[in-house]
């Protein structure tokens, strides 16, 4: 088991992390290039992009507390708390920072173990709630794909197993087993991140901008589409 764990935390983690970073970079790069291209096009066409609106809307979406109150508060706050739990703990957990320090020599402030415990429980409870919401609504079932059911369940696994590893008294399996599942499920999440809806971590900040730019067209676009389809001279 020790060997497996070393392999999971060592080469396999590094590979998974690399896949995640490269995948996200690809998505980010394509997104950035597209945005740049569209912004340059709109400059050429002397169009004013309403930057203050775009930025304020983006921030409103990123920190949707007011909107959460207005629109289906129970679901909204479950989701907001879920995100708080799954973002803060993995990054600011002392045990994780120690690994980065050992590996790359970088470190940053950590949260207390008690805080991490609470956030972990929060993440698990809200994650399960989100899964239950998804399964118990007709409209939600109608549109959900495999990844929509699978991902919330997958995401809470490293949190559950991490918590168990840190609390041996309630851990039904050995520390090594819990850690192995913890690391492997974490690796799986990292690998899947760029290829599923989890990629919204990289794409989400530019959504307001892209939605604004999507409505922009150029003076000759209609004509060009017509020519492309060979419809010159065709009546309506």
């Amino acid at each position: 088991m020790e060997q497996w764990l070393e392999w999971a935390r060592g080469p396999f983690f590094r590979a998974s992390f690399a896949i995640m970073i490269l995948g996200l970079l690809r998505v980010l790069a394509f997104n950035a290039f597209s945005m740049a291209r569209l912004i340059i096009k709109s400059r050429k066409n002397k169009r004013e992009i309403p930057w203050s609106t775009v930025v304020s809307e983006t921030l409103k979406w990123m920190f949707p507390v007011q909107r959460g109150f207005n629109q289906r508060p129970v679901f909204s706050f479950t989701s907001i708390l879920f995100h708080a739990g799954i973002i803060i703990t993995p990054i600011f957990l002392g045990a994780h920072i120690v690994l980065w320090d050992r590996g790359l020599g970088i470190s940053w402030p950590s949260i207390s173990q008690a805080a991490a415990d609470y956030l972990t429980i929060l993440a698990v409870v809200t994650g399960m709630a989100l899964f239950i919401f998804r399964v118990s609504s007709r409209s939600s079932r109608a549109i959900s794909r495999f990844q929509d059911y699978f991902l919330p369940l997958l995401i809470i696994v490293p949190f559950i197993t991490g918590y168990l590893a840190m609390h041996p008294s309630i851990n039904p399996v050995s520390w090594h087993a819990a850690m192995f599942i913890h690391v492997m499920s974490g690796n799986l999440i990292l690998v899947l991140l760029p290829f599923t809806k989890m990629s919204h971590v990289a794409l989400f900040p530019t959504t307001q901008l892209v939605s604004e730019l999507g409505w922009y067209l150029e003076p000759d676009s209609g004509e060009n589409v017509m020519k492309e389809l060979g419809k010159e001279g065709e009546s309506i």
Partner: protein, 447 residues
């Protein structure tokens, strides 16, 4: 032998052969010459299928049918984009029996895309900010390029661009002039010492007026209110007899038509050496003109676009437009047309005027940017054959909203909203009357 597909709306006969291929060709051509590609690249990955949009959509609220979930409808196009326009999609198709575009699928899309009123309420509710109205808009363009569009839209656009009368209601210029002369006589009776006119073809006039052309025949009070307001404030304006229709149904069915229509309208402004495009009380015409001006008119030829309510408000604030206080005694409420309210363009302006001239002004909930679509948006109001859908599903949420206000006058400053509101009032037996803002202004104006 293929049987002709039939939809809830009438469509003119279209080419049945090889529709999937031609659909994808049209899709590629459009992606090449627009910004929709990067939008779709983001949206197909961002969409989390959370179904939050269900809380926002007036159609879904009335039908509770999963087909009306905005994200479900957008997924119809996302699936096509993923399969044919992404590398991952093309690879998957080689390895697995995946989704393929078929005639049935296109028929399904054609049906679903016209159940949406493109009100964009879903965009405000989507946690990712996905603009499902834009996806409907894009899908409709692609479908129109393979010949599938409601006949009502096609006939209007054809008449406006290729017909003799150059407007969507086929109103001959002489009929329009006759109508205006008749209104001038009415106005003379109402205000004998004012000479309120509908100026025709005045070269160099500042504002060139483009109402929804149906106003000339169907909304006499609105037009008279318009003319009275412009006269009272000494505004220099004119109607262009070569092109007097502000309607631009290209916004609803094809960006290519949107392009041609706004260009024709601007040509008329240039002919008359006008300075500003003044849109009458019409929601989509305002947005088509404002955004279309930026999209399709080269920067050096652009003119500012102003909605007549903006102008009335400006004059009201400056004191040029004098209105009697509290003359409207009956309870009044205001409906926000999606195309001018969703982005926050015109929300408080008409309300300030109404609060002044009405004794009993009440708000709907929700209001402003979050207000519900009348149920006839996105061109659906012009499709008579789906009247029942509009009354029982599309417009049901609005009908309940109106009932809750208990108001008599429903100010709906948009030609399409007016038609839909009138129909809802009749169908749901509400004791109310639809009016335009300028209808009420006419009652309160002071010279």
């Amino acid at each position: 032998m293929e049987s002709k597909p039939s939809y809830s709306y009438h469509a003119e006969p279209f080419e049945l052969a090889e529709r999937p291929r031609r659909f994808l060709e049209a899709f590629s051509a459009i992606l090449k010459h627009s910004n929709y590609g990067p939008v779709l690249d983001s949206y197909i990955r961002l969409s989390t299928k959370c179904a939050r949009c269900t809380a926002s959509c007036p159609v879904y609220e009335a039908s509770s049918d999963p087909r009306d979930v905005p994200c479900m409808r957008s997924e119809l196009l996302f699936r096509v984009y993923r399969r044919y326009f992404t590398i991952a999609g093309q690879l998957r198709a080689r390895l697995f029996d995946d989704f393929t575009l078929t005639d049935e699928y296109i028929d399904h899309m054609a049906e679903e895309m016209w159940r949406c009123t493109a009100c964009k309420r879903c965009k405000s509710f989507c946690p990712m900010g996905i603009d499902h109205g834009m996806i409907t808009h894009l899908s409709r363009w692609i479908l129109s390029e393979i010949g599938i569009t409601p006949k009502a839209m096609v006939v209007s656009v054809r008449e406006q661009l290729e017909g003799k009368t150059k407007n969507t209601s086929a109103i001959p210029m002489v009929a329009m002039k006759d109508s205006c002369e008749f209104l001038e006589e009415e106005l003379e009776e109402m205000f004998p010492d004012q000479k309120i006119k509908f100026p025709m073809d005045v070269e160099g006039a500042e504002y060139v007026f483009f109402p929804a052309v149906s106003d000339y025949l169907m909304e006499a009070d609105t037009l008279m209110g318009n003319a009275a307001m412009l006269h009272a404030t000494g505004t220099s304006w004119t109607i262009g007899t070569q092109n007097f229709d502000g309607i631009d149904y290209g916004l609803f069915c094809s960006d290519r038509m949107w392009d041609r229509i706004i260009k024709a309208q601007v040509e008329e402004i240039k002919r008359l050496k006008g300075k500003v495009m003044l849109i009458g009380e019409c929601g989509h015409a305002s947005r088509s003109a404002k955004e279309g001006m930026q999209n399709f008119i080269p920067p050096e030829d652009r003119v500012p676009v102003v909605n007549i309510m903006e102008l009335a408000y400006e004059h009201f604030k400056s004191g040029r437009l004098k209105l009697k206080k509290g003359v409207i005694k009956k309870k009044t409420t205001y409906h926000d047309p999606c195309n001018i309210a969703r982005k926050g363009w015109i929300i408080e302006q008409p309300r300030e005027i109404l609060r002044h001239i009405c004794e009993d002004f009440v708000e709907m909930t929700p209001r402003g940017k979050d207000n519900y679509c009348c149920g006839g948006g996105g061109g659906t109001v012009s499709i008579d054959e789906i009247h029942e859908f509009r009354m029982l599903i599309g417009g049901k949420t609005k009908a309940e909203q109106i009932k809750r206000t208990g108001a008599y006058y429903i100010v709906a400053p948009c030609a399409n909203c007016k038609k839909q509101t009138e129909e809802i009032i009749k169908a749901h037996k509400i004791d109310a009357q639809k009016v335009g803002l300028h209808d009420l202004l006419l009652k309160a104006i002071e010279f």
